[in-house]
Symmetry: C2
Subunit: 585 residues, 2 copies
């Protein structure tokens, strides 16, 4: 495999041997290490010295189930720190099959304009061609993707940016194609779309035809691990076919979190939403059943997935409104903005996909705008208008494109549910203490995926931990989840395998065997998790040099003094607990 | 004298004895020490736990010439660090005469609404009454000030906030009355207006009738020092009557900086502005002479000033357009925004005064918006419209009210001439290296007044230093100026006395004697300057706890690689030089 550099200053490229130091890295482990090694932490995120790095996971491109993830990384224009944001898409295994272990986009054109970079197999190695992207700029991605397929053929795979990335928003994701050639899979968080846009790179198109695919060092061990992983996924109630995620999607969590009093509502003013049942995963399933006249189970976002959690919401006419309504997006526009109509929520999600906006960041932003009096909670029409302004880059749109923390500043509103400038996802940290520790301390800013303590705190997966108990143990819990997550984010597996492998020991063994089989290594489970710890240390070191400190590892101050209904709880974990997460890493 | 606390949660107040630790402090020394002692550096600047502190200088309220300064301090919503911003106004000596050494505004009302706090002498001590401010909210300060004088009498003194402070903008100053009851004297920088607004405090009205005035420990020594100070000010070419500042105002610097290639133009794209001569102090003088038919010399901004640098620009009809056109405001809307018509510039300044916006921050913001394509350079009408939107709080206005660094983010523009989020004033750090060190390292964000190395670098005052020479000596120069400045900012003297006392040794002696006479101390000049160093250390310690690091002590990255005409220079001082300023403090 190779490291491939695209130099956007002069649209040249270079293939390099993979350095020894990178041999056993993939996904987040590789993107974060390259950023750590090559990017000046003090650089401007949108200047010529930032880099954007893509890396398929260690197992991506193999037949390991649910392993088609790609990590994107760079210095974040939203948090000012390091960022890794991964997504599932056929783009990921295609990049791996083309022999690219890491794709580093660097430099910056002096002139205006956007480019498409196309990677294809030339018989011996991946080769890159550049062409102008003028035909695709300033448009809705739902209109643009068909044009790209038309130009490059139906078998290609697409990564790129929408209007939000072109406009340089801290709220802008990197889009990848889904299984229906739609622009719906996202490295959504942290503004990496703007980094890509700042380099004049609109799309990276992959044509893996004829490419040899990935090499597995120890096929036998790999297959053994794969079998155990498959078995665990097929068995666990959450991940199995017609199980929780396949039936109700991730939005199955709406009712659960609402019940727990941890579903942030009306810009984090309550942990319960009166419209929860109307927007829950169950409601999506029932609505589709009614509208399509049959039970619809969910589909895969990427090749080789067993979990298949990606849903579609169909309209009254039986036509798709959007795919997919994730829990986070559903919550962000639903409970947080006080909107309880699924069709409205689906339309808002679709606009975000079309413009390349992060749905979480956008929902949190709109809820802050509602909390600040720009529009009323529940005003779906007003929300749609504001998202359209974001896509068009009006001054109002630019204001809202800055990301939730900045938007709270513009309104002089201290009720800013953000950490390191990044909006909090769909779990109330006052009501679920462990996830609060993850939000506060993660190298990524407020991020539930960075250390999903919801598993033991709410779902009784991987043990149990009282969500309301403010104790030092929450630091240990969050740290353990953050380390394991850094490993999973590097493996190429979707994080959702965690439900299965936390409860089914042989599943966890299976993942370690897959990795050892792939790399030809002999790591113990502990050593593998320690690899995750090492990734966190590198990310943390980057952040420190970028100017982030312990003062950035805090929940927003208003949560310390504002009681959250229904449990009437405040954020009451001490600074010492927060500091113990990385202090004892 | 007393420390006076206004608790805005319940509109109560408390007089306290001055603690021993504060006895010899005044102005910036006192505000920064109270903030250091009492404010949690991690608090939200607009939440209930920030405090706003006012302190007259050590000499304010005495007959020391040019000493009517008041410092305002708090945690800044613009920089996230400590902020001190001082202004000259009759409000300052009135506060001192009322016996208030430090005024601490704390708490936050739970309900909406604004209040006026009135301080008057009750025969034995200052007493405070609160009344609703509804009649003054949401209006132009030029309309509101007459109402306040009408309500409270012509002899009162006013401090308060305009629309910008009510709206919670990081770009919002605290206004004080000038000598004509106008709303034109400002603690402009760093967003302290929003801090005051967040506490529901619209105005602090002082009635010093019957108040006993300040006590001087050693009248004789004080008078001796005062005489030397007066002599120096009357003698120096810059500060004497009909001298540089009294004739041409601070805008005398326009031609000088333009000549030096250090006048930032078009959002810091050049160090020369083709319209410089049209907006220079000399042009203001000549314009007034023509329009009024006689030579007009400048007036004092506050009682007891010898320098009298505050100008007025008169329109073609002979009526005042605005007072005053400071160098910084003139430059910000002029060279930086590419506007070369003095009347246009004066109107923009007047709108800022009316809304309570910092003119520097506003000009830098508009120049960034121009650089980002929102409007054309030189578009005075467009600029006026945008300032009006800021005052009205439209979404566009809120976007622009966020302060220049945030606005650059909204436009994805890496050409952000800011440090710690605060817009750079009117000196190009690439062309004047020492001031770049001050911008980068000051505890206040980019701030020329924090260590005005322009004196030796451009004006040959207090020695000479080649502005283009990138050398370690610039760190020593900036540090020396920052320490002395912290002392002067504490003394109550206007910083402009520095021109005289840097060149005339007896003037510097005079200041030390004034201070020793006032306090009854026996400090040497070195000890007094070391007091300045101690203030800087406290401010720095606060900033560190608030999460600022060395990474925040840097000039913006684009200045490292973008050459500035006409000298074609980049920012080339190393990080080590920057770090030496506080490293060797």
């Amino acid at each position: 495999m190779w490291m491939l550099r695209l130099n956007m200053t002069d649209r040249s490229y270079k293939l390099e041997e993979v350095p020894e130091r990178y041999k056993n890295l993939g996904g987040r482990g590789l993107t974060s290490t390259v950023i750590y090694d090559e990017v000046d932490p003090e650089c401007h995120p949108l200047g010529p010295n930032n880099k954007l790095v893509f890396a398929p996971g260690m197992l991506t491109g193999t037949s390991a189930p649910t392993s088609a993830r790609v990590s994107a990384g760079g210095k974040s224009p939203l948090t000012g720190g390091i960022k890794e944001s991964n997504a599932g898409s056929s783009w990921a295994p295609a990049l791996a099959r083309l022999g690219v272990k890491g794709l580093i986009v660097e430099g910056q054109p002096e002139e205006d304009g956007y480019w498409v970079a196309k990677l294809a197999w030339d018989g011996e190695k991946p080769a890159v061609t550049f062409e102008p992207a003028d035909a695709y700029v300033g448009q809705d991605l739902y209109d643009v993707f068909p044009k790209v397929y038309k130009r490059f053929g139906d078998k290609v795979h697409i990564a790129g940016v929408g209007a939000a990335g072109e406009l340089g928003y801290p709220n802008s994701g990197i889009v990848y194609n889904d299984m229906n050639q739609g622009p719906t899979r996202y490295s959504g968080r942290g503004g990496l779309g703007a980094v890509m846009g700042s380099k004049g790179l609109k799309f990276i198109v992959l044509d893996a035809d004829g490419a040899p695919g990935v090499e597995i060092a120890n096929e036998e061990l790999f297959k053994q691990g794969r079998g155990k992983m498959r078995e665990a996924l097929m068995e666990h109630a959450i991940t199995k076919p017609k199980g929780g995620l396949n039936s109700y999607g991730t939005a199955i969590l709406i009712n659960i979190l609402n019940e727990a009093g941890g579903l942030p509502t009306h810009n984090f003013r309550s942990g319960r939403f009166e419209g929860a049942a109307d927007i829950a995963g169950e409601a999506i399933f029932e609505t589709n059943k009614e509208r399509k006249g049959k039970e619809i189970y969910n589909h895969a976002c990427s090749p080789g997935c067993i979990i298949r959690c990606s849903n579609t919401l169909y309209g009254e006419d039986g036509e798709e409104i959007v795919s997919c309504v994730e829990y986070e997006s559903d919550w962000a526009f639903g409970a947080d903005c006080g909107i309880s109509n699924l069709d409205d929520i689906a339309k808002l999600i679709k606009r975000c996909n079309g413009y390349g906006l992060d749905t979480i960041e956008t929902g949190v932003t709109l809820a802050i705008a509602m909390d600040s009096g720009l529009l009323e909670f529940g005003d779906a029409e007003g929300a749609l208008d504001l998202i359209e302004q974001m896509g068009k880059g009006t001054p109002t749109g630019r204001l809202l494109g800055m990301g939730s923390g900045n938007v709270a500043k513009a309104f002089g509103n201290p009720r800013s549910p953000t950490v390191k400038g990044q909006g909090m996802p769909a779990y109330e940290p006052r009501a679920v203490k462990g996830i609060g520790v993850t939000y506060a301390t993660s190298t990524m800013g407020a991020d539930h995926t960075a250390g999903y303590t919801i598993a033991p705190e709410i779902l009784a997966v991987g043990g149990e931990s009282d969500p309301l108990k403010a104790e030092k143990a929450k630091a240990d819990l969050s740290r353990a989840f953050q380390k394991t997550t850094a490993l999973i984010d590097s493996s190429g597996h979707c994080l959702f395998i965690a439900f299965a492998i936390l409860d089914i020991e042989s599943g966890f063994e299976g993942m370690i065997e897959e990795i050892n089989g792939m790399l030809g290594t002999d790591m113990s489970a502990d050593e593998a998790v320690e690899m995750g710890g090492e990734i966190l240390r590198r990310e943390r070191a980057f952040n420190e040099k970028a100017g982030l400190t312990k003062a950035d590892d805090r929940l927003p101050e208003f949560m310390n003094y504002e009681k959250l209904p229904p449990h009437e709880v405040v954020a009451d974990l001490s600074d010492e607990v927060m500091d113990a997460v990385y202090g004892e890493l």
